[in-house]
Symmetry: D2
Subunit: 411 residues, 4 copies
């Protein structure tokens, strides 16, 4: 690792923190700074004019990478197919974006000849671990700089940061006050801080950004049909679309009906609990649809094992250990299972609820007219006799043994 | 096992099927029949006058057992504490009642000197397995009669059954048509058959019985506060109540807001898929509240392990293998964990949705004012440096080794 | 399913049982019988002249299939790579052969135009389930005949069977007495019955067939080097060989040193316990070598997850549910992991023991000269400070919270 | 946490490292030092005169605690009952002692009014984590001093340490050379370093201390009978003994026959691999006996679940997270299961091998004379028909559905 980096690739969002980090890195390391912007669908408000902004803060270069499609197809959709949900609630929109962004940052760093990587994550969160786990797996030879963890980083309030920029005549539109800390992409938006820090308070309505309040949502439900091939969505309401359009469409529909709000006190990887509010409108109905499809096409052993697998896979997503052999192996298993996940599912959205109400598949194992197979061909009521006898045999043996032993003792 | 039983205890519901089974058993085995009625909260409509009804069909005795409290405290609440949900959806109201009912039936059979047990479950369902697994564990010496699986049972339509009763002058109020097959208790009601057998059709509105349609539910949300001690509910909205009152109260509130409807294609234990609709109003908000409480009081390792445990425990509930050493061991583990599950959770009900929006506990591990512990006492940002280095060390080593190997190959 | 089969493919071993089954099937069904012989390495003693034997008992055709290579490469070696061991002991030589044999039987049945499949397994064992699970997965349209479970099968002693053949002038060299029931192939031999049925008796020395008694084994240990590529063995002691030769070589070496004897009371799938003795000489050292190799090349998360996977995969092997989506998915995961399992392992054999004592791999994650990476590049002692602080943070928070609560209570 | 500790409790072994730590702590912190000696059966060679030794190095107090019985009964035996083995090999003798020792150290610290805890573990190992995880759980208010991780600790060679003591006129019998790093207690001894650091070298014979070389072991095998009550050993060869005597007896027998040697490349918690050699003579045959007993008394579901549990419990033992809710919950489950683990097992020891060859239990589920239950009472061959039909039903349905689909495609 270089003792003194000369060119640093920083994951740049255009927000206040990373706007300070660019000049700070230049000054502290006497190094060139490359701003790497990952477009994972956070939206134009954040991305418009970002190159100009990066240069104005002192970046020698700004690389903007459109990762929207790979974010969905290599990361978010596989997670949805797997069915992983962190601690029963969180659809992991921030977690799943980190390896995608960090991989792009590493690529840009290597292409622009950087010898160090930097990010603007704080020292108490999960994101620092996710970024640096990806760095370690893909480019262990590059130095890592996490300013927030350095004793020399003293910009620990928005005011201090605004002052820092003002002194350097770096223009910045950020406000002094910020109620919530947020992270957005095509899959979700997260909210932390403010009133959310009291778990005995309900999330205030001003938290939410992507979803209509259920109370304000339409009085008429809306059914949306999602079509799948091998677990990947291919069409919405019969119209074939690319992944990004599918996600935008689902976000719009679900958001309109107030679907996808999550409120959770969660265990961070770094050992403490935090309370977060999340909106994953399109992701929520995509997950619902996938689960509805699974019901039709996966047999019991497969589905139950996949449910356990989803828990373990989810920890890897949350922890940012995406580029690891075990995570890859789990996905190999899920891909094998997902081969039969073809079909259509109708999800009904209404005032915050979403439920798969119809589903069909060429690979369905359900048979409405089961009898048409012929009773002797597939199932005979009397088969259950033997099944139950053997299924309960261990209990029967134990009970008989105990009775005999009891009688022995009783004599 | 007796080749010819002389006194048979039958699990009697008062419905058409078991009303036929009593005379049928008497005639086929020349045996006395004891009707055992388990009151698990299915309601007065089913229970009123049931003793009289049982005797009028030929039972020599009718034993009515009030199991409501033990059903909740020994079966349903432990399942809720464990957090088991079958195939991600089904709250297992029918499954969890079966060992409770079957145990009472065995007790009544032994008390009344029966040498056989009978039930009215069909040969393609799960319930036969659940009943007979309990029989095997608790009274393997008693014979088991499952009329529906016998070639001599030829009452295979409602019409045939009504004729059978009419010929014998046994009064019966049952109708010839029955759209859905249902099972009810304090925890839930299930619906199968009819239009539900087509998974490409949404459940028709006439299916539902315990819950208002979300579209008809109040326009104003309702917050309900549930208090817990060791995971067991002790009060609703501040009023301390017994278990049965708590359940009735929660069912009323949730039902009014359309909460607790489930629509699922599930894998039966006996190897085929079936589609069911379920209503578990009170159970849904109780589960939601417990999960909200867990978020506060369980550390990550404990919660994540409990989630896996819940999947495995759920299979035992669904399969009816309640009276087994492994199921008991899992519950011993959950009890150990649940010691800290004290506190209050507010669940918000609105048009089919229910969400824990507030939670507090004397055993909370969440700290809003985390900083008050003092930075050096609990967490120092720089601790994350070392944590991440070691957390990602295996990835780093692998990558470094591979780089070295790659360079070797490149020469 | 045909009510009356006209041509039946029977899994034929040449032993007394299946020698009776051929004429019995012909007579009872008035059907042609095709004898299907699977060569999975059981040895010449069983296979010599088997075609002639089959025809002399009445088979219209005898199909001998050499499955030795596919048995190892598609079944036994994958199981060894996975590391599955049933109930901590049994290396599943019989279990793993069944899907291979049954698949070949189905192929032969379809090629010869049969409409039914038959096997000679008894009604209390696992093998009937393994055979018929494969039939169900690969050829559900064919009828299944399991004579031992039929009330019409009355040849329930060796004497009855010998008489049956004698009456029909079918020559048979089988003896009236048979101490143990055995099953052999390239991977192992199993022994059941006789004195083994008392678990309070040690296995008598006359049980064992493939392995020298440790007490008679050479006084000098022997080191054997096994080389692997992607987890599959490729060479022994430096000599590259095909799979069958590798297995024969390993069996010879291990057998000479008394390695691979197993004595176990196991849980059968059909609900009862049985006691078996097994010899898996070559398999034992192959498994030992693979575990030694894993130690070098798999990181902790991967190895620990694979250990859990091995338990679940093992149940599928034991139960005969090989041709199922979940089993295939697990193997997809293991294959992904096994990509790095290249290298050499030396296993030391001595008087019944075998232990991996040396191992090396191009993909080793172990570093003898760890320091050569440079302390700052890979590991700094002080990193452990932060790691331990965060690793134990949940315990610290819980303890601090409890102390505070205790103090509160103490006032 | 105190910025400057005034009285420090150090885990003292009497070895060179901790002999230096006492004066070093006194000098660096100007603090009193209490030496806490945990007797976990490491033997007189280490313990003789240790109080005198501690004082001569500057300890103001030396507390010797006999933990042998609690080490076995609260830690080692529960681990053995659980059946946890780390990475398939390591019986975790060092890991399991750490929480026992650290708890005693905390107790002594609180009793002697200390405000800090210190240990002599290095910064690359697991033991530092195990010690400090226990500290965090039991006494988070005490400061923790880990000299080896401090930049001010510069005694990084045996020579430097010997010089350090010589300058201070502190007598020390330690030698300049030490081939292996070792840790011993009643359960095992571990060896690291020296030639062991090359995994391509077999462990040299001079490594081993507790076990005779198999080649030198007696030519005659020895059978040892261990009796159990609830999983805990109560007698050896029919003689009832206390736990410590049982362990000493088993160690002597197994050691004489060369049983219990382990050679392993393992994954440390701190992210790197290391190679260790271990001797666990008595533990090996105790584990073997317990597994033999389980075979008789645990049904399939229970045993298979316990095997998965053992893997997860083992990680907690290895990682030192003993005093955590999840570890306690797992043990609650295991205790529930172990209630039936009564009986006797004979383990045969011979030249490095040990195998349970006989086992009996009043709770045995095995039945030699199974038929004596009567065929119709417990098992009827024809029951298997129905069992297999339903067991393989998912495969059959899938295959039939696919055939139909295939035919459709074929038209």
């Amino acid at each position: 690792m270089p003792t003194s980096p000369t060119k640093i690739a920083v994951a740049y969002s255009g927000g206040l923190d990373t706007s300070c980090i660019i000049p700070w890195l230049r000054e502290h390391y006497d190094a060139d700074v490359v701003a790497v912007v990952a477009d994972v669908g956070q939206g134009d408000r954040e991305l418009d004019g970002i190159e100009q902004k990066a240069r104005s803060t002192g970046a020698c270069e700004c690389v903007v990478m459109d990762l929207k499609q790979e974010f969905l197809e290599e990361f978010a959709f596989p997670m949805a197919i797997m069915g992983s949900v962190y601690e029963g609630r969180y659809l992991m929109g921030t977690s799943i974006a980190r390896p995608c962004i960090a991989r792009a940052q590493v690529t840009a760093a290597l292409q622009t000849g950087c010898d160090a990587l930097a990010h603007g994550c704080t020292g108490k969160g999960n994101d620092q671990v996710r970024f640096e786990s990806t760095y370690a797996a893909l480019a262990p030879q590059l130095a890592v700089i996490a300013p927030w963890r350095l004793p020399t980083w003293n910009l620990r309030s928005r005011e201090a940061m605004l002052d820092y920029l003002a002194v350097r005549n770096i223009p910045c539109a950020a406000s002094k006050e910020k109620l919530y800390s947020r992270d957005a992409n095509l899959w979700h938006i997260s909210h932390e801080g403010g009133d959310l820090e009291d778990p005995w308070k309900a999330p205030p309505e001003d938290v939410w950004m992507l979803t209509t309040s259920p109370a304000q949502a339409p009085d008429q439900h809306q059914d949306v049909t999602i079509s799948f091939k091998g677990g990947f969505p291919t069409a919405v309401d019969g119209r074939t679309m690319d992944s990004v359009s599918i996600m935008n469409t689902l976000n719009a529909i679900a958001g309109r009906h107030g679907v996808g709000r999550i409120d959770l006190v969660e265990n961070r990887l770094v050992g403490m609990k935090s309370r977060g509010a999340y909106e994953t409108p399109g992701g929520t109905i995509l997950m619902e649809a996938l689960r509805g499809l699974e019901q039709l096409v996966l047999d019991r052993d497969t589905l139950h094992w996949k449910q356990r697998l989803a828990l373990e896979f989810g920890d890897h997503v949350y922890n940012g250990t995406w580029f690891t052999p075990v995570r890859a192996a789990m996905w190999a298993a899920a891909q094998s299972i997902a081969q039969v996940m073809d079909g259509d599912v109708v999800v009904r959205c209404y005032k915050g609820t979403s439920a798969a109400v119809r589903r069909r598949s060429p690979n369905s194992l359900f048979s409405q007219n089961f009898a048409t197979f012929g009773q002797d061909e597939v199932y005979d009521h009397k088969d259950a006799d033997g099944f139950i006898r053997l299924f309960s045999l261990p209990s029967r043996i134990r009970a008989l043994k105990q009775n005999i032993a009891t009688q022995d003792l009783a004599r």
